[in-house]
């Protein structure tokens, strides 16, 4: 996960290297008119709640260095298409690819991303930068994402889901503490469920590019389930339809039906958030990036009423949110000067100062030190500590380029189960069979567990 697992000695050495790299970057800019030497770069990025904070960071970078950065902002699915079109051309237009967890594997495996050290051999990753399930590395030989591989990207946005809950309603009902276990979440949601004025919890159930599946991951992994047995060891045996998966899906559906929103199967993320900010829902599990909407006086009826917690888990197990994060990699098919300019931006972006500034702009830092900064004590940034805790346990769901096919299977199966078209057992067995077919067709070492009955 985060590089907190790295031994202290190595950390110090790497840390010194990181500081040195940042210093060198600044020195290079300071010496001779950066406009003359640093090529302008284009960043392809998706429209999202954290975009504004990133944009402000980019503006800060331009002010500090004189470099020129263009943001090519696309809708989520459009961003992927734009990146595909650019990297598959003989000469790309996109320099920095801001890639989501749903597709960076496709870019790594496809050979579209230039390893950072192939551009700047002296580049040092700041050891306090979260490596987000080690997804910034890629080992082409073993086809895995581990630190044994090459540094392919830097984290841009550490997106994981958090539990959002109405602290004011908790106080009124005499409920103490955050809902850290599934039993607590269910009990509290049931207690605050007063339909149609208030639902206990609002969950996402609609099909989309990566919608209901993404929201189901914390339930699945928090119950000890998984989609594959062990991706890091290339064991793609499908375990989705093990007993833990069934418990998780039954729980998800039970919440939806008994203390959730009546239209769960049709709700997308915007509608889920809308229900919370209009004061119609007591809980939601959604990406941390939505935090800024909660306290926006122009848009929210629950200003200062929402608290944040890591997503629940079974007692004795850590929170297990799925990573829906973004990393930034340098396109391979661009001129060398643009590659170097892009790495310079990344070197600046990973520094502690830039990351604290990013938090002040409303973004989520990828640097552990930012979460120890006094800013994390500020009430406005009360999501930072739960996020830091979550990032320690976040799960990288996919390490292979066919992830989009698996996601499509999950989106349909989960949506049908939540809508009541099929039972959870049928859904899980059917999804597991289809995922196994996808993996077997692509030559992965895969298998299936005994189907649920």
């Amino acid at each position: 996960m985060a590089s907190n697992n790295v031994p202290l000695g190595r950390r110090m050495v790497l840390g010194a290297g990181g500081v040195l790299a940042a210093g060198l970057t600044r020195a290079a800019f300071a010496q001779g008119g950066p406009q003359a030497r640093v090529a302008p770069i284009t960043i392809v990025i998706n429209q999202s709640p954290w975009l504004d904070s990133f944009r402000r960071s980019v503006e800060q970078y331009e002010r500090e260095t004189g470099a020129k950065v263009d943001l090519d902002v696309q809708p989520f699915a459009g961003s992927l298409e734009k990146q595909r079109n650019s990297v598959r051309a003989s000469r790309g237009t996109a320099d920095l690819l801001v890639m989501n967890s749903g597709w960076f594997a496709e870019m790594y495996f496809g050979g579209f991303v230039e390893p950072i050290h192939a551009i700047e051999p002296g580049f040092r990753l700041d050891p306090e930068v979260y490596t987000l399930g080690d997804t910034i590395y890629f080992d082409a030989d073993t086809r895995t994402m581990t630190p044994r591989g090459r540094l392919m990207a830097l984290p841009i946005a550490p997106i994981v889901p958090l539990t959002y809950y109405r602290a004011d309603l908790y106080r009124e009902a005499g409920i103490e503490g955050a809902p850290l276990t599934f039993a607590q979440l269910e009990a509290n949601a049931r207690r605050l469920h007063r339909p149609p004025r208030m639902v206990g919890i609002v969950q996402r159930g609609a099909r989309g590019p990566h919608t209901v599946a993404f929201d189901f991951y914390p339930y699945l992994y928090g119950h000890g389930g998984s989609i594959f047995r062990n991706q890091a060891e290339n064991d793609y045996t499908v375990t989705l339809n093990a007993a833990e998966g069934r418990t998780a899906l039954d729980y998800y559906i039970r919440l939806a039906r008994e203390c959730g929103h009546p239209r769960t199967a049709a709700l997308d993320q915007a509608e889920v958030i809308q229900n919370v900010v209009t004061g119609r829902a007591a809980h939601m599990l959604t990406v941390v990036a939505a935090w800024s909407q909660m306290d926006d006086r122009d848009r929210s009826a629950v200003v200062d009423k929402i608290e944040f917690a890591p997503t629940p888990a079974l007692p004795g197990r850590p929170t297990a949110p799925g990573l829906g994060h973004f990393v930034g990699g340098v396109a391979r098919n661009i001129p060398d000067d643009r590659k170097r300019a892009t790495v310079q931006f990344l070197a600046w972006f990973q520094t502690k100062d830039a990351q604290i500034a990013l938090a002040r702009h409303g973004g989520m830092p990828v640097h552990a030190a930012a979460y120890r900064d006094p800013i994390a004590e500020d009430r406005r940034y009360r999501w930072m500590k739960p996020l830091a805790e979550s990032l320690r346990h976040a799960v990288n769901i996919y390490q292979f380029p066919e992830a989009s096919e698996v996601i499509a299977v999950l989106e349909l199966g989960l949506n049908r189960a939540i809508a009541g078209e099929i039972t959870s057992v049928v859904a899980l067995n059917d999804m597991a069979r289809q995922i196994h077919t996808v993996m077997a067709a692509r030559g992965y070492r895969t298998g299936q567990v005994e189907p649920l009955r």
């Binding site: 495996f109 809308q274 989009s404 809508a419």
Partner: protein, 285 residues
């Protein structure tokens, strides 16, 4: 000979622009495309993609839904469009205003239509739900209820495309010969007899052309479904264009997506052939 020589540049251009992309699609349907080391590698898979279509539950559901959608939407648009055109053809004052009003929806981009209706139909926050509440009715989950979601999308499409039918029918009605109607009036025909024995037979070619146009366009529906329901809940509103989009783009399965697209082109071709045969039978009768 000279005629062919003068036509050939245009023919070559037409073939290049019209047929080459289709040929490329057909060829792609027999290959699997993978990317490695920044380069695409094509591997021949024969008819495997076409065989896989039969077992693709999403494709099967999308074909069935698209048929229902196309027939329902086109029937609604034709009936409403014809009725509006009849009314408008008899209006003498404010014709320009009424025409402009009726064609307004067709001028809007599909994306705007989808966003607008998604807001209107939202049972929690939408205007239609609030109107229902005002009159003491429970808001209806138009897009989230699998039993009525496809019907709701059809309604939106009818709202969107009825003006297209209206315009074609109005143009057809205004070009009908007046003397036939005058003769019928002299013979004592009432309005219903005029419609049944004069207007409909004379309008038949326009009706068939409009039907075929709209059926083909309805078969290609994408933007409304993409925005309103995303194909859900479950597979209730899954349509072929959306399935192709998912397979081709979201899942990046270019070969399989191409095979799916070719299959759909073939289906549309069959539909057009059936429509042409029906037209010939009617004309012969």
């Amino acid at each position: 000979m000279w005629r062919w020589a003068t036509l050939s540049p245009a023919l070559v251009l037409l073939l290049a622009l019209g047929l080459l992309p289709v040929l490329n699609l057909v060829v792609l349907g027999f290959f699997d495309v993978r990317w490695a080391d920044g380069r695409a590698s094509w591997s021949f898979v024969g008819t495997r993609h076409y065989a896989a279509l039969a077992g693709d539950a999403l494709f099967g559901a999308s074909i069935a839904n698209t048929m229902l959608f196309a027939l329902g939407a086109v029937a609604g648009q034709m009936l409403l469009g014809f009725a509006l055109a009849l009314l408008c053809s008899k209006v003498t004052r404010g014709r320009v205003f009424w025409r402009a009003l009726f064609i307004l929806p067709v001028l809007m981009p599909g994306i705007v239509i989808g966003a607008m209706w998604k807001l209107l139909l939202n049972p929690d926050f939408g205007a239609i739900g609030q109107l229902f509440e005002l009159v003491g009715l429970q808001p209806v989950d138009w897009l989230g209820n699998a039993r009525i979601a496809l019907f709701s999308v059809v309604l939106v499409d009818v709202w969107h495309w009825t003006p297209f039918c209206f315009l074609l029918f109005l143009a057809g009605l205004e070009s009908l010969p007046r003397d036939v109607y005058e003769a019928a009036t002299v013979d004592g025909a009432d309005a219903w007899q005029e419609l049944w024995h004069i207007t409909l037979p004379l309008m038949w070619p326009t009706i068939v052309v409009t039907f075929v146009f709209r059926l083909v366009l309805a078969f290609k529906v994408f933007d409304e479904v993409y925005l309103l329901t995303g194909g859900g809940p479950g597979t209730a509103t899954e349509v072929v264009s959306f399935t192709i989009y998912q397979r081709f783009f979201t899942e990046d399965r270019a070969g399989y997506g191409a095979a799916m697209a070719v299959a759909v082109i073939f289906l549309i071709f069959l539909m057009l052939a059936a429509a042409a045969a029906a037209r010939r039978r009617v004309q012969a009768a």
